[in-house]
């Protein structure tokens, strides 16, 4: 019997994991990744929440599993077009090459919110305002410093930038920012024990295992300060520090503070690939994410036969969820193509 062809679009953790699993079955797997390397957005992170595992070591395990297979991996290649004709999927790349498949897995993931759209926070205008990812770069380098190369004495983290915000069109919660802020606050205190660290939040969504304990540890052991209030605006002071305006809602008083660094916990949006291909395939969901067939029982299927979803292309997700989701999606693909495991 002729071997089936499966195409996985997206070489992040979800794409890597599902491609690697499917390579054990009787099919040809091809993986497309638009960046020069596989790995995805997670590669930017230094240590993972909630247990501070080194991201690089973790991802190396996934990637080396992939490298052991004979999967055809096309990096620097973006899928631009997708169409189903008579049960066969036809794909076209940015290099004008055409590919076909019996089943396609969309693992095109997410992008982060561009905080330039929250002009009042001064991102891209005042050097003291950075994103959580730029902060991870500093953590990887083992050094937190201001643009002037100095050690910051006071750092503020602002949750919900680009999330839970009608003004930028993202009404939803991005899931990962609250715990990330707790993680980065602890990492800050470990590198700079004398720095004052403030987390500005509306709610502290410690919804995963070990999250609440980490929050408590950040307070008890590390002295991180939590202020329940959303920062309204950030401006530059005469000496190039950042002035922020918030309300301490628990005290019921407005609060103005000058900090050396303001870290924006930017939210999660659908990547351009997710939105583009979901639209072309007819499975576009809210906010440009891909829409699964049914939330509880068919979350890796779509309304199109042979088109499967794995990972953060559906909604903001944690790494653990994305890997588990990729494995569930693999099960669906195997079922659909009625494949047998290789002997």
């Amino acid at each position: 019997m002729k071997k089936k062809n499966v195409i996985v679009i997206g070489g992040g953790p979800a794409g890597i994991e599902i491609a690697q699993i499917l390579s054990n079955y009787s099919c040809n797997v091809t993986l497309f990744e638009k960046e020069p390397q596989v790995g995805g957005q997670i590669k930017r992170i230094d240590k993972l929440f909630p247990d501070f595992i080194v991201q690089d070591e973790m991802m190396q395990k996934l990637i080396s599993n992939l490298e052991k297979t004979d999967i055809q991996i096309h990096t620097d290649t973006e899928i631009k077009d997708i169409e189903q004709i008579d049960n066969i999927w036809h794909l076209k790349t940015n290099k004008e090459e055409a590919f076909t498949a019996d089943a396609v897995v969309l693992a095109t993931g997410f992008k982060t919110f561009d905080p330039k759209y929250k002009e009042e926070l001064g991102y891209g205008i005042y050097p003291g305002v950075i994103t959580t990812l730029e902060f991870e770069d500093m953590l990887k380098a083992g050094k937190i410093q201001t643009s002037a190369g100095e050690e910051p004495r006071r750092i503020a983290f602002l949750n919900c930038v680009g999330s839970r915000d009608e003004k930028v069109g993202n009404h939803y919660c991005s899931r990962v920012c609250c715990i990330n802020a707790v993680k980065q606050s602890i990492e800050t205190k470990e590198l700079l024990p004398n720095a004052e660290v403030f987390c500005f939040y509306m709610d502290l969504r410690m919804s995963g295992q070990f999250y609440e304990e980490l929050y408590r540890k950040s307070q008890e052991k590390h002295g991180v300060n939590y202020i329940r209030g959303r920062i309204s605006e950030a401006s530059s002071t005469f000496d190039h520090r950042i002035q922020i305006k918030s309300e301490d809602t628990l005290a019921g008083l407005p609060l103005k503070m000058t900090v050396d660094l303001l870290v924006l916990m930017i939210g999660v949006e659908a990547s351009e690939g997710t939105t583009n291909l979901s639209a072309k395939a007819g499975i576009l969901g809210e906010y440009g994410f891909a829409k699964s067939l049914s939330l509880h029982l068919k979350d890796n299927l779509t309304k199109k036969e042979g088109l499967f979803l794995a990972g953060a292309c559906k909604r903001p997700s944690t790494l653990r969820e994305v890997i588990a989701d990729a494995r569930a999606a693999a099960f669906e693909v195997v079922n659909y193509l009625k494949m047998e495991i290789n002997g």
Partner: protein, 350 residues
């Protein structure tokens, strides 16, 4: 400080010609020369068609925001103004006041999203006056129009916003009226956070825009917070906050597109100086505050005393000297009659 710009530098729709001008209670009272100049610029410098209908009146904005004029009344009064515009067959409403501009935006938005309010207003206007009205095609503030024509006007300007002696650009604080930008940011030139309407003029005319922490802070008019003497502390406190924040940047002058803001930022410097002995510039003479029309007119070469700069409390001569404007000090307190009027008293501290 404003090098990296990511905000949408979008040009919101600003009508090109055929303007129906609506005067501002505050601008007429405190800066009548500015209104006269704006009409002159449109007609003489830019060759535009603009009407000045005497059958107009207040939009009731101040009354509305101090809660003595109900919303239904304000909507109907606005409708009357629009019906008057329809009579002239013009479609582009140009309100001199920033409160009127904000009010128009609010009323038009209400009518769009709540058609029953529009119907109610039609009914009220018909019952009270027999009039009917149409929605305008465009609403633009005079500062939007000057912004749109800033490059053409530059070509006609005698002076620029440059210090004549040092050759350096003048440092300008631009203040945008809250009701211009904050109610419907999409209805402005450049949005609410880094509005372009005055910054664009200043930069086109070679000045330097100052960014300071309280740049977007209200001047403190506060409607009822100023109208009632017992509340005026609020009003002056807001302006004080702004001046304290801008002081280290040593601005050469302040320009505002809202007439109330221009008036308050001028007068409160006097009040603070007399009450506390504090001024916010090195020479203890105050930071001159101009309306956007006055800034435009000065650079075009109009006589500062025809523009009305003698009616400002903070003396403008230091600024005129910086720019290199040629003026006659003896002409300052002369009225239309040609008679030299007796001069105002000098304050102690500014």
């Amino acid at each position: 400080m404003m090098e990296k710009k990511y905000w949408k530098d979008y040009q919101r729709e600003i009508a090109d010609d055929d303007y129906f001008y609506h005067r501002s209670c505050i601008r007429q009272t405190f800066f009548p020369g500015s209104e006269a100049l704006f009409l002159k610029i449109l007609k003489n410098e830019l060759g535009k068609n603009v009407t000045d209908d005497p059958n107009l009146h207040t939009c009731t904005g101040i009354g509305y925001h101090s809660d003595v004029v109900p919303f239904d009344t304000t909507m109907t009064i606005v409708a009357r103004l629009l019906s008057q515009m329809n009579k002239s067959e013009l479609k582009n409403f140009v309100p001199s006041c920033v409160t009127t501009f904000g009010l128009l935006s609010e009323v038009l938005d209400t009518w769009k999203h709540f058609p029953e309010e529009l119907e109610k207003t039609r009914k009220f206007l018909k019952e009270a006056t027999g009039r009917e009205f149409k929605i305008p095609e465009n609403v633009a503030h005079p500062s939007d129009i000057i912004y749109k024509n800033r490059k053409v006007l530059k070509g006609k300007m005698k002076y620029q916003l440059v210090n004549k002696e040092t050759g350096n650009p003048l440092k300008v604080v631009e203040h945008i009226g809250c009701h211009y930008a904050k109610i419907f940011p999409e209805n402005t030139t450049g949005g609410a956070e880094f509005p372009q309407v005055l910054a664009g003029m200043i930069e086109a005319w070679e000045g330097k825009v100052i960014d300071y922490p309280e740049r977007r802070h209200c001047c403190g008019f506060g409607f009822r917070q100023y109208l009632i003497m017992a509340n005026r502390g609020y009003s002056v406190a807001n302006t004080k906050k702004k001046f304290e924040s801008m002081q280290p940047y040593e601005p050469d002058f302040v320009v505002a597109n809202c007439p109330g803001c221009a008036m308050f930022m001028d007068r409160w410097q006097y009040t603070i100086a007399e009450m506390e002995g504090i001024t916010y510039d090195k020479n203890k003479r105050g930071i001159p505050v101009l309306t956007h029309e006055e800034m435009t007119g000065l650079l075009l070469g109009y006589n500062p005393w025809d523009l009305g700069l003698q009616v400002h409390q903070v003396q403008v001569e230091p600024l005129l000297d910086k720019i290199g404007v040629v003026y006659n000090p003896d002409d300052k307190y002369v009225g239309k009659s040609g008679i030299k009027l007796s001069e105002p008293q000098r304050p102690k501290n500014i």
